[in-house]
Every structure is written in C-alpha cells, then in structure tokens.
C-alpha cells in the first residue's frame, strides 16, 4: 500500500440486502402474531469442502475433531451453537459459522489439499432465517418439495421461485435459506411477498 494514501475507515461488510431489508411487521398479522419471522444472518463465514472420494473418512474425522461436528449424511445438516455443517452433495459440505476468525484458513489447516478442495464462499451466499407456523406454505409457493416430510436437520438444494437455494430445516417450523448473493435482493422481495398473507415480522439481522 502506498504510504501517501490515507486508507478509508475500517471496512464493514455490506450485505447484498442493504437498501432492500426493512424491519417491521408486514401483511396480515392475526392478533399481532406473524405467521413468519424473518431475519438475515449477516457476516457469515462459509467454507465449501469437496473431498476426494477416497478421502471421505479423513475429512469426516478432521471435521469431527477440529470443528466438534460430525459431517452429516446426504441431505442432512448438523448444528452446534453458531456453527453448522450442511451436506450439499456427494462428499461436499458447507461449514457455516458467524465470522469471528479466518474460517477458511482454519478449515484448510485441518483438511490439507490432499484430502479435499477447500474454497472460501463466505461472501457468495446470503442467508435468511425463517421461523413460524406458515413456513411450509411460504416455501411451498416456490418449491416443489414436500415440506410435510421436511423437518429438523434436513438439508436440500432446490428451486424456490426462480432461485436456486439450499434449505436447512431447523426445528418443526424453522429453516435457514441460502441463496447466491447476486440474486438475494430479488429473493428477499419474493420471500416478503410470499409471506404477506400470513403476516410477516422482519427483525434486525442476526
């Protein structure tokens, strides 16, 4: 960095939803109770792991030992505190946690390149946390999945409206939805519109 240049203030991550994300209550809340509560999970660290087919066991052990989570079987996700590991394909996982360290470096250190390709994807996804009794209806507006049989710990890649998403089921009526960053504003508006008839509360990002 050239000495004469005065660096701007310390950078803050700018969410793709900035300018689109409005908190408050929207739509048809019955007795003040929303059918959906929505919040953006901001500043996530996300690392994509793609293991060589013959190194699946090594990666499993490394994640279990170094990240306290046993990688889930296909179409599942596991979660511990602020950390989750999502199965996103054969021998492919996403490690997700709130950004507080260089997660990519930590994963790379744990999993050498002889075992897996490891790629930083922390800025490539936007994540919404949805919770509420109308969750199934809202998701069913955009996805052909059978959400009656989709539950806690399930994890699928699917189409929601126009958008390719990963959905991680949490509890009986909650889900985290991950979508590519560039599509995020449109998906956010889609989620808001889809939720209006059930009553929507958008809370501060978490």
């Amino acid at each position: 960095m050239a000495d004469e240049h005065q660096a701007p203030a310390e950078p803050q991550r700018r969410s793709a939803l900035q300018g689109h994300y409005l908190t408050g209550e929207f739509g048809w809340l019955v007795d003040g109770v929303p059918g959906i509560e929505l919040s953006e999970r901001r500043d996530l660290a996300i690392v994509h792991i793609d293991a060589w087919f013959d190194k699946h066991g090594e990666v499993h052990h490394a994640l279990r030992d170094d990240f306290d989570l046993t990688p889930p079987e296909k179409l599942r996700a596991v979660e511990l505190g602020q950390r989750a590991i999502l199965s996103v394909g054969p021998n492919r996982w996403l490690v997700v946690e709130k950004e507080s360290r260089n997660l990519f470096a930590a994963v790379r250190k744990s999993i050498p390149e002889e075992w897996a390709a490891v790629t930083d994807q922390g800025h490539s996804r936007v994540c919404w946390r949805l919770e509420g009794p109308a969750l199934r209806q809202v998701l069913s507006k955009g996805s052909t999945l059978d959400f009656d049989t989709f539950g806690d710990g399930d994890c699928v890649g699917t189409i929601l409206g126009h958008f390719t998403v990963t959905i991680h089921g949490r509890g009986p009526s909650g889900a985290d939805i991950y979508c590519a960053r560039s599509f995020a504003p449109d998906l956010h508006h889609w989620l808001v519109e889809a939720s209006l008839e059930y009553g929507l509360r958008v809370t501060d990002p978490v």
Binding site: M1, A2, E4, H5, A7, P8, E10, P11, Q12, R13, R14, S15, A16, Q18, G19, G27, W28, D43, H48, D50, W52, E113, A116, A117, V118, T119, D120, Q121, G122, H123, S124, R125, Q137, S140, K141, G142, S143, T144, L145, D146, D148, T149, G161, H162, F163, A180, R181, S182, F183, P185, D186, L187, H189, W190, E193, A194, L196, E197
Partner: protein, 1004 residues
C-alpha cells in the same frame, strides 16, 4: 315470492337472507343475497334476458347453474379489473358487483346485429371460409371483411389495462387427491382421511356438497345438506385432511401432477391487499379420485334457445340452493327419470308443473308414478318440437315423436329439459384413458385408468345416491390402502332410499313441427345448429375433429360441455355408424377457462425474471447509469453526464478518458471458476486449445475453448494461483454453461482426473481498472509492488486491498488493450474497494465506464466477444488459429480439422471502416461486393458485420465483421448493406486491430 325479488321463494335455498347485496346489471340496480351467483340473483329479480348469441345475436337466458353455461356470459367489474366472458352461473355475488351484458349494440334488448337472423341462411357453418375462396382469394377484400366479421361475431372485450391484481402459486403433495366435493368426493375423502392418508379435497364451487345442495335427498335421518355439514365437520377434524373450495382442477399431467386454480378473492368486493386474486396449485398425488360429477345434457328441438329454457337439474339447483323459482308454469321435457324431480320441486316451491313431456314410449318407475300421483300430466312418446316467445318463453309445441307433427301448445314460462347426464370424463381422458361409450346409459364412461387414479360416483356413471356414496367410500378406502393406510374398523354407510329409475332412451334430435323448419341449436354458445352438422357432413367434414373446426361446435368458454355429445351423435347417425366409431374430440386442459394472470402467477413485474446485482449495483444506480441486461445481470451500459448526453457521446467520452488517463469498470459478471487438484493443469490442457501445463504460478494466460464439434465455445483468462490451484474466467453469458461443462467432463468423461471445480463468481466482486494511469491508482490501494518488473503483464497474485482485512486477488490483464488490472475482492467489500479506487483515481479524473465503452474498446483492439463467438466460427475464422496446439489433444481438436471448418472460403474476422469516415456500420448488416450494388437482387452475401463502435483515436466509426477471404482482402472496398433501412455503405477492409496493434500499451 318475496319483496323486490319476484322469483325468490321463502324458506328455500342456502343463501344468507340476512345479508342483502346490491349489484347492477347493464346499469340497473338489483338486490340479491350472500350465497347467490349472479345468475341466481338475476333470475330472482325476474331478469331472463342476459345475453345475445354469438353469431345470430338471438336473445338468450340462463341455461344452466354451473361451469357448463353456454349463454350467460357477462363482463364483471369495471376498469382494469373488468373481466369479459365470465359465466354468470359461477360468478359469486358480492356487494357492489357491476355486471354488463356483451356482444350487443346498442343494448341487450335492441341489438342491431340481431338482423343477422334475417340472413341466417346465408351465413351457415363455414361461410367464413367459403366466402373468400374463389375470386376473393388473396385479395384485400379478405382482410377487409375479416375485421368486420371478427368485430360482429365476438364475445366480450378486455379492458386493455394492466391487471392490477396479484396471482400466486402453491405446490402440494398428498396421498390421495379427491377432485370434487359432492357426495362421492366427500365420501371418498372421509374414507381415505379416516384411514390416516394425507388427503386434499378440491371443489370448484364455494359450497361443498355438489348435487346434495341442489336436490332433495335423505341420508339416514339427515337431509342431504345436514349430511354434508356433518361430513365437512368430520373432515375438518382430521389433521391430515385439507379442504379447498373455489378450486378448479383443470388439468391432469404426467407424474400424477394435477393443475388447479383457486379463486382466492374473486368473490370479494375489494381484493385484500395481502391476498392473491387467484392461486395456481400443482398437486402431486400418489392416488387421485376423480369425483367430478356429471353434466346434464340438453335436448335438441325447434327454437330450443329462448330465455326460459333451462336444464332440468339447473331448475332444481335454483330452487333448492338459491331459493329462486325461475318460472311459474313449467314444462319438463326429458328422456330420463331424473327430470321428474324437477316437476316435483317446482310444485313444492309453489309453481305449476304443466306437463312432463317424456320422449320414452312407456317408461315405468316409482318416481314417474309419484309424479303422476301429484296430478302432473305425463306425455310419453312425445317431444317438444317448437317454442314461442321472444325475450322470454311463452309456450311450447308438443307432438308425438312418431306422429305427423301435429302439435298441442302448452303455455309456460319455463321449460326444463334433460337429455340425461354425461359423466365429466375430462380429467380422466387427459391421462390418455379413452372414454368408453355405454349404450344403455347413453353416455361416455371413463376409460381404463392409465395413471394411479379412479373415477367415483356420477363421474363413473353411478347416478343413484346410494351408489354414489358407496362408490365414493370404496374408492377412498382403496386409494388410502394403495398408499399404505387402512382403517382397522368397519364403516357402516348411511341408509339411503333405493332408486330404480327407468332406463333412459336417446333422443338426439326432436322431429320438426308439422310446418316449418325452426333452428335447432346443438351448441348454444357457438350458434351451431343441427343443420350445420348436416351441412358439414354433406361437405365431407365427417371426423369429429373436422366437424369441430368447421362448425366451431364445442369451442368457446364452455368447450362443448352441453353440445359435444349431441353433435357427434347426430354426425354418427348421418354416417350410419355407432357413436363409439365416431369417437369424441380430444379433451385438453384447461377444464374451464383460466385467467392468463393465473398462468403468469408471480412471474410479473419485478419477478418476471430474476435479476442479478453486482456488489456495486447501488453505486451505479446512484451515479445515474443506464442499465442493460447481460444474461440475468443488470450491467451499466453507460453513465450519462447530463440528461442530454446521448449513448454514443457517453461511451465515446468514457473510451477517451480511459485511454487517456484511467477508467473503472464493474466486471463482476464474468464467470469465475476455482479449479483445484493435482491434475488441474492436465485438465486445463484438455479443455483449452492452447497449452496450460507450463503456466507458472503467479501468471495468467488467455485460453480458448472449442465445442466438441470444433467450433469456438468460450474464451477467457485462467490464472495459476498455486501449484494445484487455478482460477478461470469465462464470458458473462457462458459462465453457468462452462461451469456445467467442466463438471460434466470431470464426472462423466475424465473421472480419473483428480480435479474439483467450484464457482466463485458470487464470492468475489471484480473491478477492472484500465488506462495509462491505472497503475498509479491501483498502487494506492494494494500492498504489493506493481512496477512492470515486479508485476508484469499477465501477472497475478494475492494482495490486500485498502486494509489488511481485505484479502484480494490481483490480475494484470486487459480487455481494453491498455495498461490494466483486475482486482477481485470478497463481495461484501466490493463497494468499499470501488469507493476507495474512485477516491484514489480522483486526481486522474477516473471515469466509470459501462458495457458500451467496454465493448467499444475491445472492438478497437479487435478482441472477439459474444457477437463473434456465435457458435458458427472457428478459431481460424477469428484469427486465433495459432492457439490450436499441435503438441497435445484438446476438446474439439479432431472435428476442428474437418474440411468444412478449414475451407479457404470461410468467412474470417476483419476490421471495417466506412469510406466516408462518418456513417456507422450497423450490427447485423450483410456485406456484399461493391460491384453488386446495382445488380438485381438477390446478390451474394460475402460476409456480415458482427460488432460496431466509434474510435475516438481514429475519429471514425469502426466495425468487426466476418468476410470471405478475410484479411487477404485488406484495403478492398466492400458494400455494407442494411436493406431494412435501405442503407448501403461503402466500407474499407482493414486489420481488426484498430488501436495499438503492436500491443505496446499493455506492457507500459
């Protein structure tokens, strides 16, 4: 009769008499009740004339009480929400409803076009086609008269305004989908639901119950209505059962997918802001039960279309469901027992049943005896042969079928007709199950199922209540069992009185009266008469599909629900063949009309297609850029300095400033693919035409990809970030396709290669900085030495941008031909770094440039892009033949050597400038020889213009093109032809590298 609704009868119907609703029809105010349809409310108010017929503009009244209605088509609502061709029989009444008749001028009563009746003999079926054959063929007369005919014979018109309402979509899965909420459907849903199956029941009406709401039945100790309420309560209590009313299943598709539309708020005066107007459902069911009921068929006789002539079942529906007696003196004309109920219900409601005219010679049943016992005259072996009246029915002529036509006149204001019931086999037949004709029942029954479905109740040809209930229960139980659910107790079905109706007898067309030959309508909506069918037969249109197209029989909003059977029966008789030999027309979705808005669903306006935004999107917006779509991305096209600055002025300014000092461009949209693994170099060597095995770490290389057939596929740079780590860039348009192709190669073609690919397009914001001052600007924000020695052309490497917190990748690559850099930073920092670069570049007058300037600069440099990589060009065509390595195999190599792809006559890349130095050479122009300018067309096309721009440095329009002979013709003058605008521009062929052909600036 009550108050201002003269035909409303007390103590009948399921309407809310404590909720009066005001509405208007053709500007006149009326009152109805909650639960009415527009048709029932009009009938309650004594309004019989509701429309004019399609062709002859004959007065028409309400004919049915359901979706099959051919006559009562009206326009509902006003302004942008005006919806034409709505069936009054299914339009739910709401307070403030505004309805208007259509296809009449100046008004419904006095319609000038009713004069068409006087020339009816000259406008039979097919006149439209015939009139303009022979001497009129291919003349302007056809176009002239077509407009008049279309205007006169039409239906309603839409508002022409954008639909203001929202439409929604929903997907649902279930074990058992029950379509139809009548007795059979309710019974089936209850059986399946109580067995524990996930059940969805849909019904097109607002009230479940079907005919149980419209006829008088006892089920055990309950009335039909009470049984319905009790059953709904049971179903509602079951946690796995979902009931959907106002939902029409319109189509049955592969994979047991059923399409349906729910009218969520059509029945409300104001559309609630948070509710869609309609919702498009897609049901995926393991088993489907088609309890879709049956449609009563009319009879064909002279002048059978006057207002006051109505299906017999509809009369009972108006009495029992809506509390409306459509006429005081009723004649019933039938060929079956069911219509006798109408006589009894009319009398029970206070009307007079003048007579039952039964086409059968000697029918015997308890119901007939009971009707006779009530004092009703029953004329067997008779038919109605003519009717009288104009705006309403006044009398009918009745004659023995086998007699000489001598008729007796019966005064009446209501004629209830029944030609028997036709099961609604539409959805069943959409699966490919061909309907089967049943001679005894005179109707088509569903064919052998081809999907996991079963028809139940009337839809399966079971027409007594006992049979309907038990069939529904059996089908529901069976469907549940097939999905693994069964009830561990026996269910006792409710007791229902046995019915033993006399067999019906077909009467497809009543005889003419003794004198005259009145019109006998087969298809009321399309004004198709029995004579039209005969005419079609005489003229050789003997297939039912041809009959339909020639006469329009079965077209329109009702799709022949009350006409197809009769029409094909008449045709069968004319052909001397049985009905099964003639067959039916094809049943296609939708079962009933669907609003285009519902099909569009949420994909409108903002959500018509997804838009991709770069991390710097808001900056471009704030700067006032003009946007242009690039694939799904929004990209800045240019940044006008003033409102009056034109596109060309803007991009020329941006080009000049970039070449003279420094410009900045958002290139996030280019595809970025991370490639990792010990075999990555070998992989790249195979997919690119040029060598990558020896690319050192910290270097980038331009690469070219071919398709398997040898044509150029994509290009871009690939940089080696580590020993086993590369990042590939692709064009914006091909980013997804290239990624998919690489995945395919790795998974299917070379699974032995140890390589992984991951898209990082979204992970990084990409910013290009170009121009002689770009190094000075970039150096201000990165922590590595950018001197030419330390970071030469095609160098790449990691760095920090602005602060140590931002880990970036820097590339010294150039699309503009200038000294240039591209920096990739994590996307959430994209805007921050962009701002920092703008600050850093302020002293150099940094200019943001858009897609136009980007394209213009690459044209100046002769770089190919999407316009040239059009799937028809080879590497050699584009001047890139040297990139085809002879040292290694690569995708597309073999087929690139085909004679056709290496022929010397192929068109090759050239540069073009107009001889006059002024006239732009439009994209898409054809290139012809100058000598062919004045020759008769066609002349040979020797090339085309692929891209054009304006070079500030040369001060002339420039273009890239593909030309036979290529650069061998450098210096020649050719003619750039754009015949659509009559442009013929002489242009000089020259080297496509217009600016800095030696590439000195790149190495500056």
């Amino acid at each position: 009769m009550s108050g201002n609704q003269p035909n409303r009868i007390p103590d009948f119907g399921r309407i809310g008499r404590d909720e009066p609703l005001r509405f208007t029809f053709d500007g006149k105010a009326y009152t109805g009740y909650k639960g009415d349809t527009l048709a029932s409310a009009l009938l309650a108010n004594g309004v019989k004339l509701v429309g004019r017929s399609f062709k002859y503009h004959r007065p028409r009244g309400v004919f049915s009480a359901g979706v099959e209605e051919p006559n009562a088509l009206v326009a509902l609502r006003e302004g942008a929400r005006r919806e034409p061709n709505t069936r009054a029989t299914v339009a739910e009444l709401f307070d403030g409803l505004v309805a208007e008749s259509q296809n009449r001028s100046p008004n419904l009563k006095y319609d000038i076009q009713s004069l068409n009746q006087a020339i009816a003999r000259f406008i039979p079926a097919g006149f439209y086609y015939k009139t303009f054959m022979g001497p009129f063929a291919n003349t302007r007369l056809w176009m002239f008269f077509e407009k008049i005919i279309r205007k006169s014979a039409g239906m309603g018109t839409a508002s022409g305004e954008a639909d203001p309402d929202r439409y929604d979509r929903m997907h649902a899965h279930c074990d058992v989908l029950v379509i139809g909420g009548g007795a059979a459907g309710l019974s089936a849903a209850l059986a399946a639901g109580e067995a524990g199956a996930r059940v969805i029941l849909v019904d097109e009406t607002p009230r479940l119950g079907g005919r149980l709401n419209q006829d008088v039945y006892k089920i055990g100790d309950l009335s039909g209505g009470e049984w319905v309420e009790q059953t709904i309560a049971k179903l509602t209590a079951l946690p796995t059962v979902k009931l959907l009313t106002r939902t029409t299943a319109f189509g049955y598709y592969d994979g047991n997918l059923i399409g349906a539309v729910e009218r969520v708020s059509d029945h409300l005066p104001e559309m609630p802001v948070h509710l869609p107007r309609q919702r498009w459902w897609r049901f995926r069911a393991k088993q489907v039960i088609l309890a879709t009921g049956a449609t009563e068929q009319p009879l064909v006789f002279g002048n059978n279309d006057r207002p006051g002539i109505m299906l017999a079942g509809a009369v009972r529906a108006y009495i029992n469901e809506y509390g409306v007696l459509p006429g005081r003196r009723a004649v019933i004309f039938t060929n079956n027992d069911d219509a006798y109920r109408t006589a009894l219900d009319v009398m029970n409601a206070g009307g007079a049943a003048v007579a039952v005219v039964d086409a059968r010679k000697n029918p015997r049943s308890t119901l007939i005896d009971h009707t006779r016992g009530k004092g009703v005259t029953v004329l067997t072996g008779h038919a109605v042969v003519n009717t009288h009246g104009h705006f309403e029915l006044q009398a009918v002529d009745v004659a023995p079928i086998d007699g000489d036509g001598a008729a007796r006149r019966l005064d009446c204001d209501l004629l209830a007709i029944s030609g028997g019931w036709q099961p609604n086999v539409h959805l069943s037949s959409q699966t490919g199950a061909k309907p089967v004709w049943n001679d005894k029942m005179n109707c088509f029954l569903p064919g052998t199922p081809k999907r996991p479905e079963a028809s139940a109740g009337a839809a399966a040809g079971r027409f007594t209540l006992a049979a309907v209930l038990s069939d529904g229960h059996a089908r529901g139980t069976q469907a549940a069992a097939l999905t693994g659910h069964s009830l561990d107790r026996e269910v006792k079905l409710p007791r229902v009185d046995a019915e033993t109706p006399a067999p019906s007898e077909a009467l497809w067309e009543a005889p003419d009266p003794a004198t005259g030959h009145p019109k006998k309508f087969v298809d009321h909506q399309d004004d198709v008469s029995a004579d039209d069918v005969r005419l079609a037969h005489r003229e050789g249109y003997v297939s039912v599909e041809h009959l339909k197209r020639y006469t329009t029989l079965g077209m329109g909003t009702d799709q022949g629900k009350t006409s197809n059977i009769t029409g094909l029966a008449i045709m069968a008789k004319l052909r001397g063949q049985p009905i099964p030999a003639v067959g039916t027309t094809t049943f296609r979705p939708p079962y009933t009309p669907i609003a285009i808005g519902a099909m569009g669903g949420t994909e409108r306006g903002q959500h018509y297609k997804p838009r991709r935004r770069s991390p710097m999107h808001d900056w471009h917006q704030e700067r006032g850029c003009e946007w242009i779509p690039a694939g799904l991305w929004d990209r800045p096209r240019h940044y006008p300095l003033t409102p009056n600055e034109t596109l060309r002025q803007a991009y020329v300014r941006e080009t000049k400033q970039t070449r003279q000092s420094v410009g900045i461009c958002d290139v996030t949209t280019l595809g970025k693919i991370d490639i990792q693994g010990p075999d990555a170099a070998e992989f790249l060597n195979r997919v690119y035409t040029n060598g990558f095995a020896k690319l050192p770490v910290g270097k980038a290389r331009y690469g070219l990809m071919l398709r398997e057939d040898g044509q150029v596929y994509d290009d871009g740079t690939t940089s080696r970030l580590g020993e086993n780590h590369y990042v590939m860039t692709t064009t914006t348009a091909n980013a997804v396709a290239v990624m998919a192709k690489l995945e395919f190669y790795l998974q299917a073609v070379w699974p032995d290669l140890r390589v992984k690919v991951v898209s990082v397009t979204e992970q990084y914001a990409a910013i290009a900085l170009a121009g002689p001052n770009s190094r000075k600007v970039m150096q201000k924000i990165v922590d590595i030495d950018l001197s030419d020695d330390a970071f030469p052309f095609m160098a790449c490497g990691p760095c920090h941008a602005v602060t140590d917190a931002i880990r970036a990748r820097l590339f010294r690559i150039s699309f503009s031909g200038e000294l240039a850099y591209e920096i990739n930073v994590p996307s959430d920092y994209g805007r921050f770094v962009w701002d920092a670069l703008m600050d850093a570049g302020a002293e150099f007058g940094i200019v943001p440039y858009g897609l136009e300037a980007l394209g213009n600069m690459r044209i100046e440099k002769g770089h190919v892009a999407g316009a040239e990589l059009d799937g028809r060009t080879t590497a050699d065509d584009l001047g890139l033949g040297k990139m085809l390595s002879a040292q290694k195999p690569f995708v597309g190599k073999t087929l690139a050597q085909r004679p056709g792809l290496t022929a010397p006559t192929r068109k090759k890349l050239v540069g073009l400038v107009p001889v006059d130095g002024k006239t732009a050479l439009p994209n898409g122009s054809q290139i012809i020889e100058l000598a062919d300018r004045d020759k008769p067309r066609p002349v040979k096309m020797i090339g085309n213009v692929s891209s054009n721009g304006f070079s500030p440095e040369l001060n002339t329009p420039i273009a890239l093109g593909l030309l036979e002979g290529g650069l061998a013709r450098e210096g020649d003058t050719v003619l750039v032809a754009y015949p659509l605008k009559n442009l013929y521009i002489p242009a000089t062929v020259r080297n496509p590298h217009f600016v800095d052909p030696e590439g000195k600036r790149l190495h500056g």
